[in-house]
Symmetry: C2
Subunit: 535 residues, 2 copies
């Protein structure tokens, strides 16, 4: 049952204002966003009358608009105009604006300084913080900051900032997602999130987010902890240690450093020099490497040393991590140009973190939830064409229409610092990474994507998506020695599951020059989607 | 209750021969061992009349003497003469021989080719083999080959060869040790061993040893397996995997190689270039690193990476193993002059072996039996003087009167290939090894020595022994930078438990030139006890 969003009675009168504003006027003279916001236009009430001259809204139900992504604001206006988002006050106002005016007013508010929640850091121990920064992965519930970005300050164009937003508005929206009165998102992601939250949790998380500063340095309290406070194992799986289990002293210090590297591999000072693309460990190992069926660290740790046919020798965990840098993180394109040494402090810190995650796990045993569950062969051959449509529907929201990911705001490293990683092109994993295999990609996608809704795609959809993603140009296999055929023979033998060496859309994948040509064809090089589009 | 050893009735007549041989004659003309053996002397029956012209004895109860260590044979004759070993046939004969003649005849038999058991390899799967080569460490029962040497061919001067010995004789002696009718060994070691064996097991192990070849290449079947066939955990402790659990393929291969390196570190082709002394991993980690309270690998594996104050950083297991080479195995004195790299195949093989030993052990947990149990502080200050007397009584049998260990036969590496390791001097662990600390040495000794009788020494005795052993010259601490005081300050702060820098018996321990002076004083250099003394 859907109902309209309820508003405080003192504002019901505004319905009348809106109703009186007259018919929609789409062919109007150019008016600046600022003018529209503060003075309105014939038939359009000024936004400022409810959202305030600074765009910060108020505690009585009107959200702060200041600093929200223009793309998000514009989409909301369009959705309000056509009923995708239901709101009796906003609908007539939105209907009264042309697309050009919507863009203008959205850009104006995106450029205003956001409302600051006023808290220096927020209560470190509150249940609201726990949900907001660590999520509740036992229920496949990602943290708010996983999509709404560092400090919950939003990720353009789709994810609004939550920091400093009015608690009451946040609460009302979470309730609206939960009860279905708001559903204008992609893939029902917010419904899936909100459904997991009790009324009490909604209150707690809203209050905590509302109190956050939206400007200045991102407070440490908004960063995920190396482990959550409460059990996060998916039912029936191994429970890695919790935050309270983190040791003090130098062991705890290195584990924390390992965790930080794990989640921010391309930008952490220790690892950045060895990362040649925009991939972090956590991109392939969700929930800080703790999630069952997402190649969790607690399951991987105990399996090494072991033989790997990939390099035909016994690999230690250090070797394995070096392999991740070599392939998944494309070290050849990094500042150092090589992967870190297996006995480096960097690799040791990652091992210390993994070792800790495996606390109590039986060594040498294959645990339930290890790796990605292997899908059965698909009934239809994986299709990049079908995959393209699925990508637009389910993946582009985060990874971009062009698969080039979404960069984080405020960074001078636009090709390395991503909120959501690129999946092909120069800043993606290379042709030697396990993920380039169509089967591995499909396994990962089925069990883990879209974030927060794993398992919602069919097996065939996962295969098709992987085929689409993995049939694009990407950085060279570092084992390539100048001879494509020889490299295929040596390392890319599974021709049914590997696009390396094949020609797709005119690009001979893996051939010298192909990636460069693709970059040239795509506007002079891959560009991660601008993260703050109008400031 | 002690009774004399029983002999087959057909040989009882010989008692009369012996009885008729007349009074002992100690001041006789020089007679060669060969003449004594084959023709006897006035009043002394020729040995050959019972032990055969080749010294191989017979199945009816007379042991083969050929190839046994002269020291062992001479001791038996003396013991038979003075009643320490009770035998009605041999007592009067032994009494009839001067010490010179005993030495001569012992040397003669030691030089004869030993009896060959005839089996190409022996039954790999028999219970007898299992006991002989793997022991039964659940009962602290070391393998026969642990003392009787590779191929059970004996270790001079104290341990007789068992390979090819008559099964009936071996059986009768094990029964004699078991029921107390033979007790002329040090520390009651053989009684402790034999008491653990059922009659059936005595039969099985005797038959298996008797069938072994005593010459030519040592058969692989006589080498300990990487793990025993049956559970060997001391009660209440973790059970590491058994031989049947060893994986096939390249993983199993590297685990086997690691096991071989672990037990023969100074001589294995992979590790020898990095070992500068006579210490193998297994010398400090008994039972192939599987024994509780003997710093077992299954307990160590799960604890790394972890911080160590020794080097003030986080250590991976690879780092830890490198540390063992650096200190316990004195890499500075090796052919390479340095420890192996942490990412070398050598260190990886050892890790693979350790990882396998830890199969099923909970990662990151301190398990019962980890390390050596720490002794409480001793009631009296540890005394090297008391330790010296204890050493002669309990340790010299294997480690030599001068602590220089016992080398293995047939090796051209007399300073590296030891049956029992040297405990001080140039081929021992260096001043940086953990074992040089009096507390660590005492902890190890109490829980593990003498081999097969752990816990039989008092705590004070363990402290005193460690003080004695660790107050001798040994190779320099590799962290020594030319300044003894500075090295003490940096690395040897526990002055109550560390002789480094102290002067004992005129040797300033750890000072440049001290070890060299000690070598000069000790007959031009440390010499491991000759292992085959008369061949």
């Amino acid at each position: 049952m859907k109902t309209t969003t309820r508003f405080p009675s003192t504002f019901r009168a505004l319905l009348a204002v809106a109703a009186l504003a007259g018919p929609p006027c789409t062919a109007t003279a150019a008016v600046s966003g600022e003018t529209l916001a503060n003075q309105g236009a014939p038939g359009v009430a000024p936004c400022a009358s409810c959202h305030g001259p600074d765009g910060h809204g108020n505690a009585a139900g009107f959200p702060s608009l200041a600093g929200l992504p223009a793309g998000y604001l514009a989409k909301q206006m369009h959705d309000l105009a056509d009923g995708q988002r239901r709101n009796p006050i906003m609908m007539p106002i939105a209907k009264g604006l042309s697309d050009a005016r919507i863009q203008a007013v959205a850009a104006y508010y995106a450029g205003l300084p956001p409302r600051d929640g006023g808290a220096a850091s927020g209560d470190h121990r509150s249940a609201g913080r726990e949900l907001a920064v660590n999520g509740r992965w036992a229920d496949q519930l990602p943290a708010c900051v996983a999509c709404h970005g560092a400090g919950a300050r939003g990720v353009a164009p789709h994810f609004p900032g939550l920091a400093g937003q009015h608690a009451g508005y946040l609460e009302s929206q979470l309730q609206a997602w939960k009860n279905g009165t708001r559903d204008n998102d992609a893939d029902g992601l917010m419904k899936r999130v909100a459904e997991q939250l009790s009324d009490e949790e909604i209150k707690a998380v809203s209050a905590w987010l509302a109190a956050l500063p939206a400007r200045g340095q991102v407070p440490d309290t908004t960063r995920p902890d190396p482990a959550p406070a409460r059990a996060d194992a998916v039912q029936g799986h191994f429970q890695p240690p919790l935050l309270a289990d983190l040791p003090d002293g130098p062991d705890g210090e290195v584990i924390r450093r390992g965790a930080a590297i794990f989640s921010a591999t391309p930008t952490h000072a220790d690892s950045a020099p060895f990362v040649g693309n925009g991939q972090a460990c956590v991109n392939c190992h969700l929930n800080s490497g703790r999630q069952a069926d997402s190649a969790p660290m607690w399951a991987a740790w105990g399996l090494y040393p072991k033989y790997r046919s990939k390099n035909d020798r016994i690999n230690t965990m250090a070797d394995r991590i070096v392999g991740c840098f070599t392939y998944s993180e494309n070290a050849q394109g990094s500042a150092k140009g090589v992967a870190p040494a297996p006995d480096s402090d960097l690799v040791t810190a990652l091992q210390a973190y993994m070792h800790w995650q495996a606390s109590g796990a039986p060594s040498g045993r294959t645990l339930d939830g290890q790796g990605y569950p292997a899908l059965a062969a698909p009934s239809q051959a994986p299709s990049p064409e079908r995959g393209a449509a699925l990508f637009a529907a389910h993946c582009a929201l985060c990874h971009g229409d062009d698969g080039q990911g979404t960069a984080r705001p405020g960074t001078d490293r636009p090709t390395k610092d991503y909120e959501f990683p690129p999946l092909w092109g120069p800043h993606a994993y290379n042709w030697g990474a396990g993920m380039h295999r169509v089967n591995t990609g499909a396994d990962f996608i089925k069990a883990n994507m879209p974030l927060g809704r794993p398992g919602s795609l069919t097996d065939q959809q996962a295969w098709d998506l992987s085929a689409y993603i993995n049939s694009h140009p990407r950085p060279q296999d570092p084992r390539f020695d100048g001879d494509l055929e020889a490299t295929i023979k040596a390392f890319h033998g599974n021709r049914d599951r590997d696009y390396y060496g094949k020609t797709v859309n005119g690009y001979k994948l893996g051939a010298p020059g192909t990636l460069e040509q693709w970059e040239k064809d795509h506007d002079g090089g891959a560009r991660p989607r601008a993260n703050v589009d109008a400031q």
